[in-house]
């Protein structure tokens, strides 16, 4: 018995098997990211008034990443069109671009993560807060033994709530300067990792899971670009379908980012 509908679509559904399969999988992914977005809404709505952060992420970098993904989406479509038109060279060109753009996205994201891990909130002994990026720790710096000092590029505030809304007009006038704080004045020093605030927790989880999907998608497209492209010579229609199916996954990854970007960066 020949295996039906691998390449040609079934008449009543208009689909070949893998296309239905990927859409079903994408439906489950909608529920996965949907649950995380629901968690975001719940955490934000349930936060104490004024204690939900705004403007903690660099909008320009986020915009650049958005443009990177949108461009990778069009290159993905063009790769599929090239396959459909049996233009193997152009397919290779477009999907090479897709993979490069995917790597660019991950690099930019890594830079953003690194930036957050270099950003510290320091609770001072006098009840005030210092906040900024780490420049250096003195060689003898030890918080437990209260020796040495730490130098950050940031500013000091009286209350923690002043660190939350960085989109307010007054925030534009904040002067960042080099501040050296001796260990004896530090009560607590915490970097802007996922443990620092539930906003960061959901930010790292959502973007981390998204980046994982970007990497997996890039690996699959990379495989089809490389060793998997052998099938082009034996069964081009089936290969084109594989490009379409992997492209659908890629577009979904772009779709998630279309919502992630405004929700996490702009609002």
């Amino acid at each position: 018995m020949d295996f039906p509908y691998i390449v040609e679509p079934r008449r009543d559904t208009g689909l070949y098997n893998a296309k239905l399969g990927i859409w079903l999988f994408l439906a489950s992914e909608v529920m996965l990211f949907g649950a995380l977005f629901s968690a975001y809404v719940l955490l934000r709505v349930g936060a104490e008034p004024g204690m939900w952060p705004h403007g903690w992420l660099n909008v320009y970098i986020g915009t650049a990443n958005t443009i990177v993904l949108i461009t990778s989406s069009i290159t993905t479509v063009m790769a599929w069109v090239s396959c459909k038109l049996r233009q193997y060279g152009r397919f290779k060109f477009f999907h090479a671009l897709t993979i490069l753009l995917a790597m660019t996205f991950v690099c930019i994201k890594s830079y953003e993560y690194h930036d957050k891990f270099m950003h510290y909130e320091i609770t001072l002994a006098n009840g005030k807060f210092a906040d900024g990026h780490l420049i250096e720790r003195s060689k003898d710096f030890d918080l437990a033994r209260q020796t040495g000092s730490v130098t950050i590029h940031g500013h000091e505030v009286d209350q923690e709530v002043e660190l939350m809304d960085m989109q307010r007009p007054e925030a534009r006038h904040i002067q960042l300067e080099e501040i050296t704080i001796p260990a004896t004045e530090i009560k607590k020093m915490e970097r802007y990792g996922p443990w620092h605030h539930t906003y960061l927790a959901i930010y790292f989880t959502l973007t981390g899971l998204h980046a994982f999907h970007v990497i997996c998608g890039a690996v699959v497209i990379g495989f089809l670009w490389g060793p998997g492209s052998k099938m082009w010579h034996t069964d081009p229609e089936r290969f084109t379908n594989r490009i379409e199916v992997s492209g659908l996954f890629w577009h979904f990854v772009d779709l998630v980012w279309i919502f992630l970007f405004p929700v996490l960066y702009l609002l």
Partner: protein, 113 residues
């Protein structure tokens, strides 16, 4: 059209050659991105309006990607059914969870002094 030897294998010729359409969608997506960033800097007075504007633009961009890049606009009933139910259950998950944990959905305990 069912012959697997045809070049298009189930896709209409018009679809395949709508490269111009794809470029148009691409430009629209870029414009939407610039628009949403610009709109986020505008102080509308209440945060809710910013949220509504940003989500609306995101939905339009999502429709463009799903409808044109993912060819949803020319798909048949089967996929629409699957995605329709998914959207419904996602709305249920988010809506009912938030309603249940909102102040109006929870019991209020009065502390008697």
């Amino acid at each position: 059209m069912n012959n697997s030897m045809t070049m298009n294998g189930g896709h209409s010729p018009e679809e395949v050659h709508s490269v111009r359409g794809y470029i148009f969608v691409f430009i629209a997506l870029l414009a939407g991105t610039i628009l949403t960033v610009w709109a986020s800097f505008i102080q509308f007075g209440s945060r809710e309006i910013n949220i509504a504007v940003a989500l609306t633009i995101a939905c339009v961009k999502a429709f463009l990607v799903a409808g044109y890049f993912m060819h949803l606009i020319s798909e048949r009933k089967m996929i629409y059914l699957v995605l329709g139910f998914t959207a419904l259950f996602f709305a249920g998950l988010m809506g009912l969870t938030i309603w249940s944990t909102s102040p109006e959905g929870m019991v209020h305990i009065q502390h008697v002094p």
